[in-house]
């Protein structure tokens, strides 16, 4: 199953490589990994999307917890949570009909056009991974110049929070 694991880790130079190294050394999957500092500058927050059987996921969380740099861990998938991912797409947009078609599509997906040239649009879109996939599907293959995806972030619903 697909799991979203959120971590608070020491904001130390080696922390990221320890976590990435753990996944490669033990042969675990990483679908995406995002990391940035938190309101507390000594802590980073990491979101890892991984896929595995219950047994593997249990090992992943235990092994992550064992790392000295990992301060706290939460498997979002165990409760109610919100998942979002952000994406930029640079699209070939030449000719009036093409340009208005992209605009229309973007409206439907609540995507925003954030950069415009004579021949391209750059679109920003936030949502679940599935929504981003769906948006890409509506574009013609030849029209996509570049895609940047952030990887997923997650947060629990309700009052429960991953804090110290």
């Amino acid at each position: 199953m697909r799991h979203i694991i959120s971590l608070l880790v020491e904001n130390e130079s080696g922390a990221l490589s320890r976590i990435a190294g753990l996944f490669s050394a033990r042969g675990y999957n990483i679908e995406s990994l995002t990391v940035a500092t938190t309101e507390d500058p000594t802590l980073s927050r990491m979101t890892i999307v991984t896929i595995g059987s219950d047994r593997i996921i249990e090992q992943i969380t235990k092994q992550l917890n064992k790392l000295i740099d990992v301060v706290k861990l939460q498997d979002m998938t165990e409760g109610n949570f919100i998942e979002r991912e952000m994406m930029f797409v640079k699209i070939r947009a030449e000719g009036e009909s093409k340009r208005s078609e992209i605009q229309r599509l973007s409206d439907i997906f609540r995507a925003r056009i954030i950069d415009v040239t004579d021949s391209t649009f750059c679109v920003e879109l936030t949502g679940s991974g599935g929504k981003l996939d769906a948006y890409i599907k509506t574009l013609h293959d030849g029209d996509v110049i570049e895609i940047v995806r952030s990887g997923s972030m997650g947060i629990t619903r309700g009052v429960k929070a991953l804090t110290l």
């Binding site: 080696g14 235990k62 000295i68």
Partner: protein, 584 residues
């Protein structure tokens, strides 16, 4: 007190109670060596190869329970140390390795003797630290020792850039008595409800077995294990790492289990209805095929490391905690219970079955051979040392014979590389042990292959007067490799023959030691006695052993516990055995 980084390191080691530091100098650690030179509280042992430094520190740690400390220079010093670090990591040995690093400003520039020691060691340390600020040096060192020695122990590396240790820069130093790390809180007490539940299951077992591992030794829990095992009256089997955790000569002990475990231990594992795993990690050399492992058993598992529980084998009653505290909790619960004086009838018939397996004498070997049998060497070693020596070993057949035939009654007497299986471990490890216990007999059981991997340490032994006894089971083969080739590759002995061997007697002599060769079984006893009578000399006993001997029993990789390859002597007895594997 204002001290330089080098002085802080040395003073800290002294304050931390470190007796010995095993090391080898080089450019990046010269400031540290200068500081070491100006004191004699911390004794530095100059090894001949950094692998030797880490193994010696490791041997010291295994024998004493205190952390071993090694000091190496940057670049090749650090990379040479890695085999020893990985060895300690796999067996959860507390160790702190200090490595020199190029000056902070040059890190990342491919400077002379620069290697990313943090990156290189990351997969085989419990944790590592790069010191970037001299003001954090003392605290970092304290954290290193704390992490190495608590929870599930392990090696920790501290990488020290040369500028941090420079004599010109001095900062105030105070020994940090306490550490606090928000991200590291090793669990200690087992969950009371789980412990109670485990005791209930144990008391209702009909065919129980206790399977104890290295965690008992590391956690100093042998006394508690002995009490629980005696109270329950259960059979117990130990892993390679757990030998000595429970007395080897005790009737309840079935000996080692696993790939080269005893017939009775492996058969009992296969048939048990309750498996009580204590500080053991269900390694593949123990379990064989996991799908056929203990097929009828309810599994209780105590381990300090949550990640060890249900990793390869699912535990029905997991107990995360220090083995010692959990077992003493069990002792208490059992004492409060009104247990019947005699064994239950179910347990009685279980023991009867076990005794019938035991009677087959699976370790029997040909005692009429005109060649020296490796097993007889270990038996002689056992007799001559009164079963009370520290035995280190290398890796191969000799290691298995030592594990099978030396009955360790005490913990920390059997010192071998179990997890990584590192040839070359035995001799340097013995140095660490001998330094810690100068008045005890210390023997290194080795093979002509393994000993050559760290033979240079014979020189260290002379320099520091370490009268170790090296017992070389010289079969002129990488015996364990040869055995696998005999069984699984139709006797195609590809590169397992040790040609062009040195004359080990002369080699020992040229290092300034005593060398004795034994070729005739009749001379074995007297040669062994002579070796141990030379109290203040290192003796290299080169025993020319039977080239064709194999280690039995053997569970083939991936097989079940009840399908073992047994010795020809054992097979002879099979005529008298019924299909259930019991003696008629």
């Amino acid at each position: 007190m204002e001290l330089s980084g080098s002085e802080i390191l040395v003073q800290f080691l002294k304050d931390e109670g470190v007796e010995f530091i095993f090391g080898y100098p080089g450019g990046a650690v010269l400031h540290i060596y200068d500081a070491l030179h100006q004191q004699d509280d911390v004794k530095h042992i100059l090894v001949r190869h950094e692998q030797g430094a880490t193994h010696a520190a490791d041997g010291y740690a295994r024998a004493t329970g205190k952390p071993g400390v090694a000091l190496v220079t940057s670049g090749p010093g650090a990379t040479n140390a890695i085999t020893g670090i990985a060895t300690a990591y796999m067996d959860s040995i507390p160790m702190v390795v200090i490595s020199g690093q190029v000056p902070s400003g040059m890190i990342g520039s491919d400077a002379f003797q620069e290697v990313d020691a943090i990156g290189c060691t990351r997969p085989c340390v419990k944790h590592n630290f790069l010191v970037k600020d001299i003001n954090k040096l003392a605290d970092t060192l304290k954290k290193a020792f704390y992490v190495a020695t608590t929870g599930r122990p392990g090696p920790v590396l501290v990488d020290l850039p040369k500028d941090i240790t420079a004599p010109q820069i001095k900062v105030p130093y105070k020994y940090p008595k306490k550490v606090s790390m928000r991200s590291y809180n090793p669990t200690v007490k087992g969950h009371p409800r789980q412990v109670k539940k485990a005791v209930e299951v144990l008391l209702s077992a009909k065919r129980p077995i206790i399977y104890s591992g290295g965690g008992v030794i590391l956690g100093n829990a042998s006394e508690e294990l002995r009490k629980v095992t005696h109270k329950l009256g259960f059979p117990i089997t130990e892993t390679l790492m757990g030998l000595g955790g429970f007395p080897g000569t005790d009737k309840q002990n079935l000996g080692m289990l696993g790939m080269h475990g005893t017939y009775e231990a492996n058969m009992a594992m296969h048939d048990c209805d309750v498996l009580f795993a204590v500080g053991a990690r269900f390694d593949d050399r123990i379990t064989g095929d996991t799908s056929k492992f203990c097929p009828h058993a309810t599994i209780i598992h105590i381990d300090i490391d949550p990640a060890s529980i249900s990793k390869t084998i699912n535990a029905d009653i997991p107990i995360v905690g220090e083995v010692k505290t959990v077992l003493s909790e069990m002792v208490k619960i059992l004492a409060e219970k009104d247990l019947p004086k005699s064994r239950s009838s179910a347990l009685e018939s279980w023991w009867k079955k076990i005794e019938s397996w035991r009677k087959q004498d699976c370790l029997a070997y040909d005692k009429t051979s005109k060649h020296i049998k490796p097993q007889s060497v270990i038996e002689t070693l056992y007799e001559v040392t009164g079963g009370d020596a520290y035995i280190t070993s290398d890796v191969g057949q000799h290691q298995m014979f030592a594990a099978q035939f030396y009955k360790f009654d005490k913990p920390r007497r059997w010192i071998n590389s179990g997890g990584l299986g590192t040839m070359g471990f035995g001799l340097p490890a013995a140095m660490g042990v001998k330094l810690a216990f100068p008045n005890s007999d210390v023997a290194c059981v080795t093979g002509e292959g393994s000993i050559q991997m760290c033979i240079q340490e014979l020189s260290t032994c002379l320099q520091y007067d370490l009268p170790i006894k090296v017992i070389n089971l010289n079969n002129r083969y990488l015996g364990m490799v040869r055995q696998w080739q005999e069984f699984f590759y139709e006797k195609r002995y590809s590169h397992s023959y040790m040609d062009a061997l040195p004359d080990f007697v002369k080699l020992a002599e040229s290092y300034g030691h005593v060398g004795i060769r034994v070729e005739d079984p009749a001379d074995l006893q007297s040669a062994m006695e002579e070796a141990f009578s030379l109290k203040d000399r290192l003796v290299f006993l080169d025993v020319i052993t039977d080239q064709t001997e194999n280690v039995y029993p053997m569970i083939h990789a991936g097989a079940a516990h009840n399908s073992m390859e047994i010795s020809p002597q054992h097979k002879k007895k099979l005529g008298a055995i019924n299909p259930d594997g019991e003696l008629a």
